[in-house]
Each structure stands twice: as structure tokens, then as C-alpha cells.
């Protein structure tokens, strides 16, 4: 098991290299003049060239790539062409916000999606099932940004129950950082007011993000539950007099969850990549917003680095899922 984990972690390395190559090639092959913007509107051509030299952008692509990669090894994600801040510093500031949002959304999706999916399967072809089916297709069809806007319109603009956006009331310092997750940090600090405040800021964006994965997990869970309920061993369990409750919550649940796990892993990556939209709507200071502004200004290093971080998190999440899968699924574990 440990060897398996180690090997999977080592496998991240080629993924990293592959991703950076692809991003580099894409970024460099495409048109655009990032230096032009960075130099500022009043810059002369000579100044632009000087800036390009400073950032090594006049070098051949492979030299640039090598420079980037060797920096990466030392935890240096390069420097933003635009702000000239080290990208690593920015990432350290933005990443916890995004992760807090993504984890909350995923948690919500799992906590609601799995039981709801199980219930839908148990009440198959009865009205709760139909209702959950319609609602989940609707949820999947709902653009996150539109949902975000509607939530904002209703709960922040008209009803004024929740904040419009942001992460914490700005005149106060956020809870002292251990994890960078305001909710967890405030619990650690025992500051319940801050906790509720952070939670209220988190609520709308997390809901907007979670709806689609929630629906998908629900559907997946429903499908796999139904599939498992058709398995021979469930028939055997019924034939030998086990109660439906025991069958559903013990025999079916574990098997059904293990097939939903993969979806959860995939959704983690999808959520990370998709925070862009929700963060834009809610002014959530995370890497999505950071990436958006970098993309608009064609600031290459932040874009590559954000993509890289998301990629690595995604791969890591899948390793975690694989391990969990192994824990739930004895056949895999012992092979």
C-alpha cells in the first residue's frame, strides 16, 4: 500500500513536466503580446524589449522552459510579468480561499448527494425519485455563474440575508491563519463569531458551486445503488432473511459508494478548474480570479502556475481516491 502511494506520488512528476510543456507550447505558439501590457501603455518599443530581456522572453522557448522548470524545483513559480510579484507568493495567498470554497462545495455535495442518491434508488420509480431526477438534471443544466447571479440577486440584493461577495468583512483581520481556511481557523481560535461570519460569506458561492456535483453524485449514487441492488449477493442476502435496512445501509452502501468515489475525484478537479466563474461572480479572492485577471492580461506565469497547481491537486486527489477505493474495496487492497 505504502509502495503504491509512493509510486503514484512519483508519477506526479512526469505529469508535471508534461503539463508544463503543453502549457508552454500553447502559450508561446499563440499570438498575443504580454510584454506590451506589462510594460505599460506609455512604454516605448525599446522599453518593451528591455522588459522581454529581463524576463528572458527573448530566449528560445526551451531555454525559457528550462529556466522555469529549474525554478519550479526550488518552489519558484516564476514572476508575474504584470505585477512583478513572485507567483508563489500570490498562490499562497489565493489558494487557501479556493480550496476552502471547493472543499465546502464538495462536502455539501457529498453530504447531500450520497444520501439523496441512496434514497432515490430505494424509492425508485416513485415520486421522490422522479423529483430528484428532474431536479438533478436541472441542477446539472444550470450554469454556475447564472445560478451564482440568481443567488446573489435573491439572497444578497433583494432579501439581504447574506453578503454580496468577498470572504470576510474587510475591516477585520481574518482569523489567525493556521490552515488558511477561515472557517477552520476560527474554530481553532475558538472564535465562533468569526466562524459564523466566514460561513455566511461562504454560503452562496459554495452552494452555487456544489449544485452540479451534488446532482452528479446523486445520480451516480442512485445508478450504482440500483446496480448493486441487482447484484446476486443482494438477492442472496434477501433470500437469507437480512432486513432491507441492513442490506441497504451495510451491504449496498459500501459497494455503491466505492463506485461513486471516482466521480468525486473527477469533480474535485472540475471544481478547482471551474472556480473561475463562481469566484468572478462572488469576488471570492481565490486562484480562479487570479487566473482570470492573468489570462486577460496574458500574464503567462500565473496562468501556467495556476493550471499546474490545479493539475497537481487533481492528480493528488485521484491518488487519495485510489487509496480510499482500496480501503473500501478489499479485492483491490489485497491484489
Amino acid at each position: 500500500m505504502l509502495r503504491f502511494i509512493l509510486r503514484r506520488i512519483l508519477l506526479i512528476l512526469p505529469v508535471l513536466i508534461g503539463m508544463t510543456i503543453i502549457m508552454f507550447v500553447i502559450a508561446r505558439v499563440l499570438p498575443g503580446d504580454p510584454v506590451g501590457l506589462a510594460a505599460g501603455p506609455n512604454a516605448t518599443r525599446a522599453e518593451i524589449e528591455a522588459l522581454a530581456r529581463e524576463f528572458g522572453l527573448d530566449q528560445p522557448l526551451w531555454v525559457q522552459y528550462w529556466t522555469y522548470l529549474s525554478g519550479l524545483v526550488q518552489g519558484d513559480f516564476g514572476t508575474s510579468l504584470f505585477s512583478r510579484r513572485p507567483v508563489a507568493t500570490d498562490l499562497a495567498a489565493y489558494l487557501p480561499a479556493t480550496l476552502e470554497l471547493v472543499f465546502s462545495a464538495l462536502l455539501l455535495a457529498i453530504l447531500v448527494g450520497i444520501p439523496a442518491g441512496l434514497m432515490a434508488a430505494v424509492w425508485r420509480n416513485k415520486w421522490p425519485d422522479y423529483l430528484s431526477n428532474i431536479l438533478s438534471v436541472a441542477a446539472i443544466s444550470m450554469p454556475r455563474f447564472f445560478l451564482g447571479l440568481l443567488l446573489q440577486l435573491c439572497f444578497a440584493m433583494w432579501l439581504m440575508w447574506l453578503p454580496l461577495g468577498g470572504r470576510f468583512p474587510i475591516i477585520f483581520d481574518p482569523p489567525p491563519g493556521v490552515t488558511g481556511f477561515y472557517t477552520i481557523d476560527s474554530i481553532i481560535a475558538g472564535d465562533w463569531d468569526s466562524f459564523w461570519t466566514a460561513l455566511r460569506y461562504l454560503a452562496l458561492p459554495a452552494i452555487a458551486m456544489s449544485l452540479s456535483p451534488l446532482a452528479t453524485i446523486l445520480r451516480m449514487m442512485r445508478a450504482s445503488t440500483i446496480e448493486v441492488m441487482h447484484q446476486d449477493y443482494v438477492t442472496t442476502a434477501r433470500a437469507l432473511g437480512l432486513s432491507p435496512r441492513l442490506i441497504v445501509f451495510k451491504y449496498v452502501l459500501r459497494n455503491a459508494i466505492s463506485s461513486s468515489l471516482t466521480v468525486i475525484g473527477l469533480y474535485f478537479g472540475w471544481l478547482l478548474g471551474g472556480t473561475v466563474l463562481v469566484e468572478t461572480v462572488f469576488d471570492w479572492p481565490g486562484i480562479g480570479l487570479y487566473a482570470t485577471s492573468a489570462i486577460v492580461s496574458q500574464d503567462f506565469m500565473p496562468v501556467v502556475s495556476v493550471a499546474l497547481v490545479i493539475g497537481v491537486l487533481f492528480v493528488t486527489a485521484n491518488i487519495v481516491i485510489d487509496v480510499l477505493y482500496g480501503l473500501i474495496n478489499p479485492k483491490v487492497r489485497y491484489q
Binding site: P31, G32, D33, P34, V35, G36, L37, A38, A39, G40, P41, N42, A43, T44, R45, E47, S80, F82, S83, R84, R85, D90, A93, Y94, A156, M157, M160, W161, L162, P163, L164, G165, G166, R167, P169, I170, I171, F172, D173, D193, S194, W196, T197, L199, R200, Y201, T280, D283, P285, L289, Y290, S293, V296, S297, Q298
Partner: protein
């Protein structure tokens, strides 16, 4: 809300209230005071990517630098006038080429060390050396060796050429501590250090920077400036949507909002606790035409388009704005309000079109607007609509700012039409005239292609002339020349739109860089 005793409202209950988003539409701004300190919150769409005093640009950076650094001279009032900054007083020679500034001996940097003439010399030389940021304003006028420290508190500038607006541009050259900068030189002329650290002598210092979210300034305990308000701190909060800014202002979650649209201003009309500031300023918004390449190189085509343009729609879509009369901002020194300019007249438009190579139209023009600039987008659509009357199609290309800047480098890549704002950094006709019409600016976005030796001569004359009457005459000629030449569709002057809580005291509007708020005079 009114039942809450504001005096006893603790941080705890404030958090509870703000977390709840507050049920009532009017969020008593006094609550902020109850948080223990007087902290002013300004909402803006723009991040502060860099706060090196000599490389940073943009109004958000200007806000930051104006509050954390001190220039020799500040600008205040309406019309804007130079007022003492680091310099208590100054003298100008007869020929306008020598300026001598006497520094305020009380002035100290945030680390407590006094501001000396050496720091001034260092800062000007560094700005010229780095050749970024606002240094273009003094380029060719101040040479590095022309700045000398006469003694510890006296600086002399020997200008390369007289410059009528000199005192108007030096508010934008900030003085950094030579000692701190040199201690953190870092092989890159301190740029790495200064873009993330403050070495200034302004009334505020940096407390907290969360890029993309907020920048919190705190009153410097070394603040030597006099006559300030009661603020303990200022927060520059980035709120990307103007409508959100407006709602936050209404709810009292911010004190000042600097990026409101005209629609927002309308919505704020009569909002309790909100003060609207709608003031004219010198920021022009025009549509540049490619006078060098393509169909617009033909003056008749330019005039045809200028006559076809729906000026009423332009004005309607601009909200609080007035149509420009000619190339210079209305009301600025030398502006001629009686100038005869183009107004919608389809007959004359067709007359001019008939004189072009394509008398029946049938061509497609290309207009670029910068991504994210809503007003530019609207104008592109208005242009599209207007040109349909001439049987001319319009191909609208949204471009990112850097691509647009790149496209400005040659007439071949410059689009046929390009709407652009020109912000007045200083209240002098030279600002717009030089930046927008002088051929030395060709290849840059402010004046990518237009060049006319006659205009150049007039602009240069206006710049180096010190006698105001003579300047009025020169700029009068320039305006007539430019209208006749028609390089631009002269657009509108948008009024500056600020929204403010009524608790903000001590605010005085000045029409230059008016959204880069100076917080020192303000109180809550």
C-alpha cells in the same frame, strides 16, 4: 437597527451583523466607527498590482502612492492648483526653466528619518532611469543631472526646456527614501523591493495587502502632515462589479465607491445616507481614426463618418456626460466653446462619402474596443448602427489591452476606428494636446498614427510658452486645425461619478485623478 446602542456595539455584534448582511438597506456607517477605529473603505474595480512609486501606473496605484508617499507638490482644488507637499515653498525663474523647492524640515519617512534633498534627487533620477510609470511626464524636460540638492532642504531643477505645466506634473513623481531603497537595491534598482514595500513619507503606511482583494493603509505614527482628518486607516477594496459597489455603498459596507456607472448614479439618487459627486473633469473620450492607412486615410471618409455618427445616442449612452466641442476638454485653458464641430447630419455625411473612392459605401470598417471597457463597447455598437445609414459595415473586434497597444505600433495594424479615454493627469491643455496629437507619440496608444507638422509646431509652441494669453491663442489655432483635419470623432467628457456615504467629511473634489482619493483630509 435603530434600537442598537451604537456606543456599546462591540466587535462581536458587528461581526454578527455584517455576517448577516444586515437586514436593513441602510447600514449605519457609524458602525464602522464602532469597530474601534475610523477606517475609510473605498471600493474600486481595480487591483493595485505594483506600488513602486516610479514604475506603477493606473489610478489604483495612484491612490496608493498619493497616500503613502509624498511628492514635492500636491494638487488640490477645482480648478486644480499646486499646493505644498514635501516642498513648503518654491520659486520659478523668469524664463520658466529653473525651479527651486524648499523642503519642509518636519517631513520624515515612516522609519522616522528626515526627508532630505538627496532623497528628492535620488527619486527623480530613479524615475528617469527606470523610464516607466509617470516619468513620461517629465521626459525631455527634466534631465537626470538637472536635479541638484542645493542643501539638505533645498532642491533645484534646471529644466531642459521651459514647461508651462511643470508644477502640474510633479505631484505624480513621488519621493522615496534613498537610504531604504539603496539598502534593498537587490541588483534591480530596488524594483523588487519597492513594488511590495513602502519607503515613503506619506501620511499612511501599509498595514495589510491581499492582492486582488484589499489593501489596508494605516495612519503612520510619524505622520508629519498638518490639517488632516480623523482617519485611523483606509482600505482599498477591490469590488469588480460596479453594481456591487453601488449596493455595498447603499448598505454602508463601503464609504466611497469610485467606479460607478451613470445607471448606478441614477439608482443612488435619493438613497439614504449616500452623497453623489457628479463633477466635470478633463478626461476625454473620443474615437481615433486611422489617418494613415485604409479608407479612413481619406479625409472625406473621416468627415462622412464624423457626420454620420449618432451623437445623441453617444450622449444618451454615456449618462452623466457632455458632448465635447473639439479636441480639448471643455473648460480647460484655451478651450473654444464656440468651435464649429461635427454633429449628426446624414446629408453632409453622404456628400462627403460621395467624394471618396467608394461613394456608395459597401465597405467594411474595423473598430476595436478594449475588452471589459463597457463604454467603449457601447460606442462600437452605436458606430455600427450609425454607419448602416452610409451602407458601411462595421467589424467590431474586442481586444485585450496589450494586443491593442501592440496594434498601435504601426498604421497597418491600427484599426480604422478606436475609441479611447485620455485621462488628464494635470489640468493643462498640453496634457491632451501633446499626448493625443503630437507626432512624437505615434506608435503609442494615445496617438498611434496621426501626424501633422503644423499641429506639432503649435503643440510645441503651446507647451514651452509660459504666457497664458499667448497659449490661449496657440491652442485656439490648434483646435481649428484639428477639427478641419478630423483625426478623431470628438466624443464626450464623462462627468466624474463618485458615490460617498454622508459620514465622509472633508472631501473636496478636484478634477485630476479624482478617483485616486487622498485620504488625509477626510474624517468619518
Amino acid at each position: 437597527m435603530s434600537t442598537i446602542d451604537l456606543k456599546t456595539l462591540s466587535r462581536r455584534s458587528f461581526l454578527a451583523l455584517s455576517g448577516a448582511g444586515l437586514a436593513a438597506a441602510s447600514f449605519p456607517q457609524d458602525l464602522f466607527a464602532q469597530s474601534g477605529r475610523n477606517i475609510l473603505i473605498i471600493a474600486s474595480t481595480q487591483d493595485i498590482p505594483n506600488y513602486d512609486p516610479h514604475t506603477a501606473t493606473g489610478y489604483s496605484a495612484s491612490f496608493f502612492l498619493r497616500n503613502t508617499y509624498e511628492p514635492l507638490v500636491r494638487v488640490a482644488g477645482n480648478p486644480p492648483e499646486p499646493v505644498p507637499g514635501l516642498a513648503e515653498s518654491w520659486e520659478v525663474s523668469e524664463d520658466g526653466k529653473t525651479y527651486t523647492f524648499a523642503l519642509n524640515p518636519a517631513a520624515v519617512f515612516h522609519d522616522g528619518s528626515p526627508v532630505t534633498a538627496e532623497d528628492v534627487v535620488f527619486s527623480y533620477q530613479r524615475a528617469l532611469r527606470l523610464a516607466r510609470g509617470n516619468s513620461w511626464m517629465i521626459r525631455g524636460i527634466v534631465e537626470p543631472e538637472g536635479v541638484t540638492a542645493v542643501d539638505a532642504h533645498t532642491v533645484r531643477f534646471d529644466l531642459a526646456t521651459p514647461f508651462a505645466a511643470f508644477l502640474q506634473v510633479i505631484p505624480w513623481i513621488f519621493i522615496a527614501s534613498k537610504a531604504i531603497a539603496e539598502a534593498n537595491e537587490g541588483g534591480d534598482d530596488s524594483t523588487t523591493y519597492l513594488q511590495a514595500n513602502v519607503a515613503g513619507s506619506g501620511p499612511f503606511k501599509l498595514r495589510r495587502a491581499e492582492a486582488g482583494a484589499l489593501y489596508q493603509l494605516q495612519r503612520a505614527d510619524t505622520a508629519w502632515q498638518t490639517g488632516g482628518g480623523n482617519l485611523d486607516g483606509v482600505i482599498w477594496q477591490i469590488v469588480r462589479e460596479s453594481s456591487t459597489q453601488r449596493l455595498m455603498l447603499q448598505r454602508g459596507e463601503v464609504h466611497i465607491s469610485v467606479d460607478l456607472t451613470s445607471e448606478d448614479m441614477d439608482a443612488l439618487d435619493g438613497a439614504p445616507g449616500v452623497v453623489r459627486v457628479i463633477e466635470p473633469e478633463y478626461r476625454t473620450f473620443s474615437i481615433k481614426m486611422n489617418t494613415e492607412h485604409g479608407p479612413m486615410a481619406d479625409i472625406n471618409m473621416r468627415k462622412a463618418v464624423a457626420y454620420a455618427m449618432n451623437y445623441q445616442a453617444m450622449r444618451d449612452a454615456s449618462g452623466y456626460a457632455e458632448l465635447m466641442t473639439g479636441p480639448l476638454p471643455n473648460g480647460i485653458l484655451g478651450h473654444n466653446p464656440d468651435l464649429e464641430v461635427y454633429r449628426t447630419d446624414l446629408d453632409r455625411a453622404r456628400e462627403h462619402l460621395a467624394m471618396t473612392d467608394t461613394p456608395e459605401g459597401g465597405i467594411t470598417l474595423r473598430m476595436v474596443h478594449v475588452n471589459g471597457l463597457e463604454q467603449q463597447r457601447r460606442w462600437a455598437l452605436i458606430m455600427l448602427d450609425s454607419l448602416q445609414a452610409l451602407n458601411i459595415q462595421l467589424d467590431i473586434t474586442p481586444m485585450n489591452w496589450p494586443d491593442m497597444v501592440a496594434a498601435c505600433q504601426s498604421p497597418e495594424t491600427f484599426p480604422d476606428l478606436f475609441p479611447v479615454y485620455q485621462t488628464a493627469n494635470y489640468g493643462d491643455p498640453d496634457n491632451i494636446a501633446y499626448a493625443a496629437y503630437h507626432s512624437s507619440r505615434n506608435g503609442g496608444w494615445q496617438n498611434a498614427v496621426y501626424h501633422n507638422p503644423e499641429a506639432d509646431a503649435l503643440i510645441e509652441a503651446g507647451r514651452t510658452e509660459i504666457d497664458p494669453a499667448r497659449r490661449v491663442e496657440i491652442y485656439g489655432q490648434l483646435q481649428e486645425l484639428l477639427v478641419a483635419d478630423c483625426p478623431d470623432i470628438f466624443g464626450v467628457l464623462e462627468k466624474r461619478r463618485l458615490g460617498m456615504r454622508d459620514a465622509v467629511q472633508g472631501f473636496a473634489f478636484t478634477p485630476v485623478a479624482s478617483n485616486a482619493i487622498e485620504a488625509w483630509p477626510l474624517s468619518l
